[in-house]
Subunit: 401 residues, 2 copies
């Protein structure tokens, strides 16, 4: 009998702990095959530092609350493992795996995390440790993972973005002489999340939508903003954080590590609009709220997150290793997916972008995009409240000795 370790890696999502929930529930169904269920603290760092907690000792009530707890409850990391799998980090990882008799390693993450997952799978295979199975669980609000219809966490983030923009568009348009509102939405290289605002009705939809897939022309942007403002008396503009344009470098900050800290893209564009067009502006950054919000979780996203956690355990128990769970959409109406498996090396080295046939122009996406997104955001979850607050899981953190 082997133990299982669950790892959360990279940026959190609103349903990241629902996958953990599914994995715990499934693992408990196999008491003769899986001994302890461990959580790794701070992603892969927990395996390097021998910092595991025993999730079997947590209260049921707190496990149930995982379903409405955004953020990585186990802790996460952005650490990248070295390319050379013969370095000290890997030795430590193997030591921890052996010390705690681990047979199942589940890594929940995005592109970079699947690279980590792939390296661990390759390592154990190369070392001939055949009784350790490594499975990836897809997750990223950016939705840029390859080999899968979509990524867990994206539908809920999209639902948040849609509903938040829809709600404050009334606020944004309620003054006679309004402002240019520039809303910055997450997505460094892919515009999936920003494009989600296209599902809004014409009355609340942003007038202009800028995603990294369309080359950004600052001069045309200013012309477009000016035109909308002249027509409407205000403007609502949605942009991806990863938009590429020439920034004002005269006033950048440098952090403790010497890294240049650029201002947010929305703030920077607002500064340019004010100085070039002499219009009042407001920059709105959804920041981490968009990836960590319980009340607009998509029902489909939560269900799929739970199922994927379960499927990952089932796959590992079947002896499968070096694969990530993927989704194939087998029916559009009614929406239905099939859970499949993709080799980790294929996933780790690819990025999925919004395709040209999903884009019309800077004001609209195509029917193809809307048909793709709509079924993912349908359905609401019911939150448990106590005194007006939707509580989140608090773990006891029983450290494994």
């Amino acid at each position: 009998m082997k133990n299982l370790v669950y790892i959360q890696s990279g940026g959190p999502t609103s349903v990241i702990n629902s996958s953990l929930y599914g994995a715990i529930k499934e693992a408990k169904k196999h008491p003769t095959l899986i001994g302890h269920i461990y959580g790794s603290r701070y992603g892969i760092e927990g395996l390097i530092d021998d910092n595991l907690i025993d999730l079997g000792l947590e209260d049921d009530e707190q496990i149930e609350l995982l379903l409405q707890t955004p953020g990585s409850i186990l802790g996460t990391t952005r650490k990248k493992l070295p390319k050379d799998i013969h370095t000290v980090e890997y030795t430590k990882i193997i030591d921890t795996i052996k010390k705690h008799n681990i047979g199942y390693v589940l890594i929940n993450g995005g592109n970079d995390s699947m690279d980590t997952c792939h390296k661990i799978a390759t390592l154990v295979e190369e070392l001939g440790i055949n009784d350790v199975k490594v499975i990836g669980v897809p997750k990223t609000i950016d939705n840029d993972l390859a080999c899968t219809d979509h990524s867990l966490g994206f539908p809920s983030a999209a639902k948040y973005v849609m509903n938040a923009v829809n709600a404050f568009s009334v606020d944004a348009g309620c003054f006679k002489k309004g402002k240019v509102h520039v809303v910055e939405i997450m997505g460094r290289s892919a515009g999936w999340l920003t494009a989600a605002v296209d599902l809004l009705p014409p009355e609340t939809r942003p007038h202009l939508i800028y995603i990294p897939e369309i080359p950004f022309d600052l001069e045309q942007f200013l012309v477009d903003v000016k035109k909308v403002y002249a027509e409407k008396g205000f403007a609502l503009v949605a942009i991806s954080e990863g938009l590429q344009f020439e920034r004002d470098m005269s006033n950048v900050r440098v952090d403790g590590f010497g890294h240049v800290q650029l201002g947010g893209a929305a703030s920077e564009l607002c500064r340019i609009i004010e100085s070039r067009l002499d219009l009042p502006t407001r920059a709105i950054e959804f920041s981490i709220v968009q990836r960590a919000f319980p009340s607009f979780v998509s029902l489909i996203d939560r269900k799929e997150a739970i199922n994927t956690g379960k499927k990952a355990v089932q796959a590992a128990l079947k002896g499968i290793t070096g694969k990530m769970i993927t989704f194939e959409r087998v029916s559009q109406n009614p929406y239905k997916i099939k859970y499949l498996l993709a080799p980790l090396d294929k996933v780790a080295n690819a990025v999925s972008h919004v395709t040209p046939d999903m884009i019309v122009d800077n004001t609209r996406m195509s029917d193809k995009f809307r048909d793709y997104l709509r079924p993912l955001v349908v359905g609401e979850v019911k939150l448990v409240y106590k005194d007006g607050l939707a509580p989140v899981t608090v773990l006891k953190h029983h450290k494994v000795k």
Copy 2:
């Protein structure tokens, strides 16, 4: 038979249109006393510019959606009327009132708007126009209106702030070496909304809370932040936007009107933390989302907003004028309020602050504060969804000729 005009004024809230809903419902009950129900476009500007719409011609479905529509659906204004009530604006207001046979003027707003309300009431009284009744409906997420237990919109904003901070505190604490997160919450001179985070459990509550009622000492702030970070590996700090400290003026923007535009307080404090403490930071501004969010509306807030709209119509029909509806808390457990009336001149010239006996220090409020706030945020509203989106009211805007 006279007509009624409803005015929304100042900053919007998540339940501002629920008061309008209540007023429309009540007005329709009195078809022999109230003829048309008009909405004034962009606050008092609609009376000055003769820009009214006929709300009686809107579809029932859209009127029902007012309950989940944040933002001022009629449009709002920050315009201040001149002190001298013998100027041209007032002449135009009286012209519009006479032209459209208006007998009931309802103004929904905060401090400044109650000043407008008071001026109109004084004007019609001075001119001997005795058949025009003017009633104020209290509203401000800042909760700084005097003469009332609380203001409409504050409970929902507080519920949003509590739940959003609660949810992303897991995210904020999920890296081994985290950031100093500074969350900026609305409230220019009163800290009610920021203090709401005190209701969170110790695991998710911000480590430090700064409100305008406590003089801000930047050096002590840096000492406190450094200490928390050293202990926890990250820090979560809640601040009111109105916090007073010496800003870096070397890089301010000036807008089209020559007004100096200060950066957000959170961004500025993050800049100082980075340069003085050499710690990584993240500034989070809730911006207009906190006052325009449908999914964390407090049930009590919505109910009271509807009732207040109704009471305002009832008061006007009784011939009362120059008053604002107020709330007196007559029972704490179970929570119960009585609707009263206060003279507008008393309301217009006072600000309600968090009282010293509600504050312990920069880490906690007192039991008195928590007892005050808790009943206001209890209870959830059910939203209507369509394709994953909570729709908002779209008006036809039938202009009154």
